[in-house]
Subunit: 373 residues, 2 copies
């Protein structure tokens, strides 16, 4: 075993950082391909930086965000948050009281922790359903959440939305759709309407999920509710700061649904081509992955014995990808404790600069090098 | 009256925005002097933007921030927050329980709302003292706050710090110093030690107050406490995002205590020179100001009658400063409802490009124009 514990993982990570920084310095950003799918975008322009450093900057981007956010999500008014999670906290504080009930429907339990944890801080009771037949709102329910899509593309069906929203309207309980990735997965891949068009009062999305924005959230909906939430946001420091808002504005301006469809097309092509040389690659929502145990099996298929642990084979392959081709993945650059699965995400903007053939060839060549070491 | 209500204020503000944007486009950022004292700095460099858009960016700036934050504030570990307010919320959630008591000492009541409001959300009882003789900690006090300095430079004296901190150590209650502006006002202007050096367990400061960073907060202190606070920060989305952390890093790197002392020197010189031509200018902590009523009096002293309201005279003067010299102030560019007092803040980075003589001359010339209109 090469990597025995957290200390070795730190050394490995630092080695990766060194390669990335020297590549940046010597060859420029174009020589790197960040396929982690986890690099937040920060697409501000030179003129944005200038304007941001004046008193009026915030107001200018605030105004632009309003327009673009409502186009993207629908609704009457928008507010940008430091994170989708802080937007959910603000919503729960603004629209519920201690002792109230918060009901959450999602395609598959468990929920992202932000909803139950915020309910706990508020002193509200939290109920979760992932079976529409069981869904109901007990007395004193003051807020309903629907999760639009989970990160592995399980989505709430239109019929489920309609059932919950019509029930909520009858009982006059506001409905908030947590559409962190769903605002794009549901609408672009599954052709569903926007959450607001389905009758939701509020919707929130993450600007770093399936789009090239910074980590952060945008919430839109009914003016009366958004105003209440905004008051809470500023009271507790939960809102997005102007530089993030400027980056969100640029990300929304540059947003292209076709890029997501292209990512899925690349994934399918790459996966098909990889099948010829490998057995262990699986599809992810917008890319491909291979688990450490599968990498070890691939090596054995070439009648080679190795004393490397499955994890080590993944780390080594990831380091070869980085060193030879500037491809950044989590097994190379991840923090200690990060998943050792080798994942390539094609929804990352850098993936647009690689062709399916190239990707397959790079994986085959670096695997050959892995066999030779 | 020229400006009758919010609608007129919006038109006035939009006129100012137009001038600022066309100045930026035609003459560049150097032709503007933002003396509002409220423009957050965003001093990231070209290479920062490149690195930020890779997976490793956040880790690189996180590490740099640790080092610089501990140099600036002292302490064992640091965490950056979206706002000082969100840092206070995280601290209160992490270190107190519902039913506990939070005690706050400050040079002058009332407190910034962030502490009492966070206490309320937590379900903790809040007690406030601005008289050291009355200060005490009732049973079940689990957290003590001390405000280091108010924005108008009222500071907590060393003896008061010592009394509260020694009491807290006896009772084993953690002490957090809200040093939003105090981390610089107290140490640089009043030559006091850092809060941590005075024995505080935690200290937090605002990176946009008396330094050229973005709006945001940095908290440092005992590792054991910072770890607890960090867990809460990430759980609720209260932490600063990587682009803000990069800007904080640059602001700390470029931070020069001498600039603050220089701002005060400029203020004193400008104030002295202005006394020859005007009667109504007053000193602020790092600049000068004149109230609308005083502007109207100045006009009368020149034996001129005007039908303009005091507010209008301030708006007009501010617009002349912007149009003729690119000087941005709140009466020109502020949102509806902002204070109509004409303030010039010399701690703003743009002020470093103006000499006291220039400033006085500009004020005299634009006032002459105001008389001529």
């Amino acid at each position: 075993m090469l990597i025995k514990g957290p200390e070795d993982e730190i050394l490995k990570k630092e080695q990766a950082f060194k390669i990335i920084r020297s590549t940046l310095d010597e060859k420029g950003r174009e020589a790197l391909y960040d396929l982690t799918g986890l690099a937040g975008g920060f697409p501000i322009k030179k003129e944005d930086k200038k304007l941001l450093e004046t008193y009026i900057g915030p107001a200018v981007y605030e105004e632009k965000l309003q327009k673009l956010a409502l186009e993207h999500l629908g609704g009457e008014k928008a507010i940008a948050f430091n994170r989708t999670t802080s937007g959910i906290l603000a919503t729960i504080i603004a629209l519920t009281k201690p002792g109230d009930k918060i009901v959450h429907y999602l395609p598959e339990s468990p929920s992202h922790p932000s909803i139950p944890e915020s309910a706990k801080i508020r002193g509200a009771e939290y109920l979760e359903f992932d079976n529409i037949k069981e869904f109901h709102t007990p007395p004193r329910t003051s807020l309903i959440f629907i999760t639009g899509a989970t990160m592995d593309h399980k989505i709430t069906e239109i019929e489920e939305f309609k059932k919950i929203i019509s029930l909520s309207k009858k009982k006059k309980i506001p409905v908030m759709v947590d559409d962190a990735s769903g605002a794009r997965i549901r609408t672009i891949i599954y052709k569903q309407p926007k959450a607001i068009e389905l009758g939701a009062d509020l919707a929130i999305t993450s600007t770093d999920k399936l789009m090239n924005g910074p980590r952060g959230g945008i919430l839109t909906g009914k003016t009366r509710l958004v105003n209440k939430i905004k008051t809470i946001a500023y009271k507790f420091g939960l809102e997005a700061q102007p530089p993030l808002i400027a980056a969100m504005v640029r990300a929304l301006e540059e947003f292209e649904p076709s890029k997501i469809l292209k990512a899925i097309k690349i994934r399918d092509e790459v996966h098909k081509k990889l099948k010829k040389a490998f057995k262990g690659f699986q599809k992810t929502p917008t890319g491909v992955m291979i688990r450490p145990e599968e990498i070890k099996k691939e090596i054995r298929r070439h009648n080679l014995k190795t004393r490397l642990s499955p994890k080590d084979t993944s780390y080594l392959w990831a380091m070869l990808l980085l060193q030879e081709y500037g491809i950044i993945t989590i097994p190379a650059a991840g923090m200690p404790g990060a998943s050792p699965t080798l994942r390539l995400d094609f929804s990352a903007p850098d993936a647009q600069r690689l062709k399916p053939d190239q990707i397959t060839k790079i994986l085959e060549e670096t695997f050959q090098k892995l066999l030779d070491t």
